[in-house]
Symmetry: C2
Subunit: 183 residues, 2 copies
């Protein structure tokens, strides 16, 4: 740590050719673009049709129940991010079936992409961001203790789609990553 | 501009409770999270079934053809971002029909969300990032001058889905923005 105040400073300015204010470094002109973030999550279901929920160990909504979900990381596909979050928060391995829902939450600049998945192997355990992890049949879901509106939507959509194929947008063709070097 | 070197400096460090390196400010501890960005785009189709393409005025792939698409901005829904980009790059108003495709491009940390849309009103014109904008029937598409692999995928998927309903994930319930204050 240093006692010096940082000499770098951002001004709000509209860069040439753009139509909105960005944070621009007063010293070097670096433009600090800020864009919405992707939350990747899953409805992970066991062979008895029970759904895996995590009780949050962190704010916001500490103590309330949610599906395993979190911010997508650099160089990660959305499906890989959803599987990683399920492992980190619930100690559970999943096989992704398809994209259940896409939500825009513009107030907090989030886009949530939620997959329907099968719980594989049956093991689960609370990760550092979870107080506990448990499986719930539909009638056991703690509706009054659900963390976020989008978790309500998701559980209802999961129920609506149960046992049916998911309507799906197209995705990357098999083996294609969009890397021109790979063509 | 200042001749001073900025005193701020980022270290690569793993914050407490995390499992990967982040850029952390040496002075104040601020964690500069970097996450994948969303590209919102559209296949905009006129009443004759022709598709709107833009010839890029900027690098990368200047001079090559693409669909209207660009980075989602803060506080914007994905659908609104796709419509804004079509207006900015092609001067065209669209009505979104549904989500055609979702691509993960992990090498460049992008998630692309492409909508199928109807061109409304018939007007279009090249914006600052386009050299020209034009409508193409399927047989007229300049396949050898397409900017990116994902534009190839998208045009083929559009052809495959033409005249059919799109398979769709669920989206925000009507009027719901995820804002707890709105509940």
């Amino acid at each position: 740590m240093s006692d010096e105040q940082p000499a770098i400073a951002f001004d709000l300015a509209t860069p040439p050719g753009e139509d909105r204010l960005r944070r621009v470094c007063r010293t070097c002109g670096f433009i600090d673009y800020v864009n919405p973030r992707i939350v990747a999550g899953s409805v992970a279901v066991d062979p008895d049709g029970k759904v895996l929920l995590c009780r949050r160990a962190i704010d916001p909504r500490k103590g309330f129940w949610t599906i395993p979900a979190g911010y997508l990381e650099e160089n990660e596909t959305v499906e890989a991010g959803a599987a990683r979050e399920c492992m980190e928060e619930a100690g559970a391995r999943i096989a992704i079936e398809g994209l259940l829902a896409v939500y825009s939450i513009p107030r907090i600049s989030q886009v949530q992409m939620i997959y329907r998945a099968r719980l594989e192997g049956g093991a689960f355990s609370a990760g550092p961001e979870s107080l506990e992890v448990a499986l719930f049949a539909w009638d056991e879901i703690p509706w009054r203790e659900i963390a976020f509106p989008s978790v309500h939507w998701t559980l209802n959509y999961w129920r609506e789609s149960a046992g049916k194929p998911l309507g799906q947008p197209f995705v990357n063709p098999p083996g294609e990553t969009g890397d021109p070097a790979a063509r």
